[in-house]
C-alpha cells in the first residue's frame, strides 16, 4: 500500500511542471519512505530519512527555487526515446530480481556473512543495546569517519561555490514571511523542545534509535525554523556563519583526534579500548566522542549550506 503511494508520487513528480509542487511532493515521498523504513524494522534509518529527506532537503530545494524560478519549461524533445531506454533498463533489472531471495528470507546470503556476528557479539563487545550505533561507530568506524569527511567536504564545496553572502535580507529584523504573531509564539515554544530532543537523540543513541547524524540534523532544523520565522539576520546573530566553518572542522577533528589518540597509545587507529582500562568502557567513551564529532559536523554543515542558499542575493 505504501509502496503504491510511493509509485504514484513518483509518477506525479514526472508529470507536474510546477517545481514548487514537485519539491513538496518529494518531501511527502521522503516521509512515506520513512514510514516504510519503520515498517521494515529500520528505526534509525526512518528517523534519519524523516529529518533529512522530509525536512532539510525540502527547505534547501525551496531556497534554490527562490533563486532559479518556479516553473519548468515543457521539454523540447519527445518522451519516446527516454521511455524506451528506461523500459529496457527496468526490464533487465526486474529480470535480475527474479533470482533474488524473497523478502524477509532469513537464509538469504545478506543475512549470513557478518550480520550474525554483529547481532550476537555486538551488545557484548561494544556494550550497547543499539546494534546500529555499535556497527556505525565502532565496527565500521573507518567508514563513518570517511562519511563525516564527505559531509565536511560537501559543505566546503557549497561554501566555495556560493559563500555566505550579506545582503538586505540578512539584516536583523527582516523576515521573508512578515510578522506572523501565531507562528512566532508557536515557534518560540517548539524550538527548546526540538533542541532538547536533539540532545536526547545525540546522547541516547547508544541505547535507543538515534545518534550523531540524526541529532545534528534535528539541531540544525531548529535553527532553520528560527531563521524562517524570525528572519535570516536574527538567526545569524544566534548562530554566526563564521562559527559554523570552525564547528564543522572541530567535529571532524574530534573524530580524527580519537583515532590519533589510540594510535599514540599504541593501539590501531580508532580502537576505542585505548580510551579506558576496561575495553567495554573504552568503547562507550569512544562511541560517545565519535558521535559527538559527527553531530557537530552534521549540524554546522547543514546550517552553513542553508545559510549559503537562503542568504544568496537574487541575480537579476
Amino acid at each position: 500500500m505504501l509502496l503504491a503511494f510511493l509509485m504514484s508520487i513518483a509518477l506525479a513528480v514526472i508529470r507536474v511542471r510546477d517545481l514548487f509542487v514537485v519539491v513538496m511532493l518529494s518531501s511527502v515521498y521522503s516521509f512515506m519512505t520513512a514510514t516504510l523504513f519503520m515498517d521494515l524494522d529500520a528505526v534509525d534509518v526512518a528517523f534519519t530519512e524523516a529529518a533529512v529527506g522530509a525536512g532539510v532537503t525540502g527547505v534547501l530545494m525551496l531556497s534554490t527555487l527562490r533563486l532559479t524560478g518556479r516553473w519548468e519549461r515543457r521539454p523540447s524533445h519527445g518522451p519516446l526515446l527516454p521511455l524506451i531506454v528506461v523500459s529496457i533498463t527496468g526490464a533487465a533489472l526486474i529480470y535480475g530480481t527474479l533470482d533474488a531471495p524473497l523478502l524477509g528470507d532469513p537464509m538469504a546470503p545478506v543475512q549470513q556473512h557478518v550480520a550474525p556476528r554483529y547481532i550476537e557479539q555486538g551488545p557484548v563487545e561494544v556494550g550497547m543495546p543499539n546494534m546500529v550505533t555499535a556497527v556505525l561507530a565502532s565496527y565500521r568506524g573507518f567508514d563513518t569517519f570517511g562519511e563525516t569527511f564527505v559531509i565536511f567536504t560537501a559543505g566546503i564545496a557549497v561554501l566555495l561555490l556560493l559563500g555566505i553572502q550579506e545582503g538586505p535580507q540578512t539584516k536583523p529584523g527582516r523576515t521573508a514571511i512578515g510578522d506572523q504573531l501565531v507562528l512566532r509564539v508557536v515557534v518560540k515554544m517548539v524550538i527548546p523542545l526540538i533542541l532538547l530532543y536533539g540532545l536526547y537523540v545525540q546522547f541516547h543513541g547508544d541505547f535507543g534509535a538515534g545518534g550523531g547524524f540524526q541529532a545534528g540534523v534535528i539541531f540544525a532544523t531548529a535553527f532553520v525554523l528560527y531563521d524562517l520565522v524570525f528572519g535570516e539576520g536574527d538567526a545569524r546573530l544566534v548562530a554566526p556563519p563564521s562559527w559554523l566553518h570552525r564547528l564543522g572542522a572541530l567535529g571532524v577533528l574530534i573524530y580524527g583526534g580519537v583515532g590519533l589518540y589510540s594510535l599514540f597509545v599504541g593501539k590501531p587507529f580508532l580502537d576505542y579500548s585505548a580510551l579506558s582500562h576496561d575495553p567495554v568502557h573504552g568503547q562507550h567513551f569512544g562511541v560517545l566522542l565519535v558521535e559527538l564529532g559527527v553531530g557537530i559536523t552534521v549540524f554546522s554543515i547543514v546550517l552553513a549550506i542553508f545559510y549559503a542558499l537562503s542568504g544568496r542575493n537574487k541575480a537579476t
Partner: protein, 134 residues
C-alpha cells in the same frame, strides 16, 4: 508487515529507480533533474533496507525476549548514505544556482544554445553572460 510480499518490494524499487532515471534523462530543468536523482537515490535506500529485513524480526536494538533481529548492517550503510546524500544534493543545488547566475537559465536547452553560440563567435555572448564575482 505480517505477510511479506515476496519480490514485490524489489519490483517497486526498480519502478521508482526507473522513474527517477526517466526524470534525469528526459527533463531539461536542472532542479527537476536533482529531484529525480533523489528519487533514484531513495529507491536504492529502499532496496538495501528491504534486503536487511528478516521475517518476524525486530528492530536491531537489544530487547528482552527477542531473538530474531533484522540485519543492522544495511541500516548503518543507508543511515550515513542519507546524510551524505543531502550534502551532495546541496552541492548540486549550489552548482545550479551558479549556473543560473552565469547563464540566466536552468533549462538544459538554453544552456546548450548559449554554449554553442559562444563556441561559434569567440567574444560573443559568453562574456556578456559572465556573472559578476560575488
Amino acid at each position: 508487515m505480517s505477510d511479506l510480499p515476496g519480490l514485490y518490494n524489489y519490483w517497486v524499487t526498480v519502478f521508482l529507480m526507473m522513474a527517477g532515471f526517466y526524470v534525469v534523462i528526459s527533463q531539461g530543468n536542472l532542479v527537476k533533474k536533482l529531484v529525480g536523482l533523489s528519487v533514484f537515490q531513495t529507491s536504492v535506500f529502499i532496496f538495501y533496507i528491504s534486503m536487511g529485513k528478516v521475517a518476524g524480526g525486530h528492530a536491531p536494538i537489544l530487547t528482552e525476549g527477542v531473538t530474531v533481529y533484522s540485519n543492522p548492517l544495511p541500516h548503518v550503510l543507508i543511515l550515513t548514505a542519507i546524510v551524505v546524500g543531502v550534502a551532495t544534493t546541496a552541492v548540486g543545488l549550489a552548482l545550479v544556482v551558479r549556473i543560473r547566475e552565469a547563464y540566466g537559465s536552468v533549462e538544459e536547452d538554453d544552456i546548450q544554445a548559449l554554449d554553442n553560440a559562444a563556441d561559434t563567435e569567440p567574444d560573443g555572448p559568453a562574456d556578456s553572460a559572465e556573472s559578476p564575482r560575488p
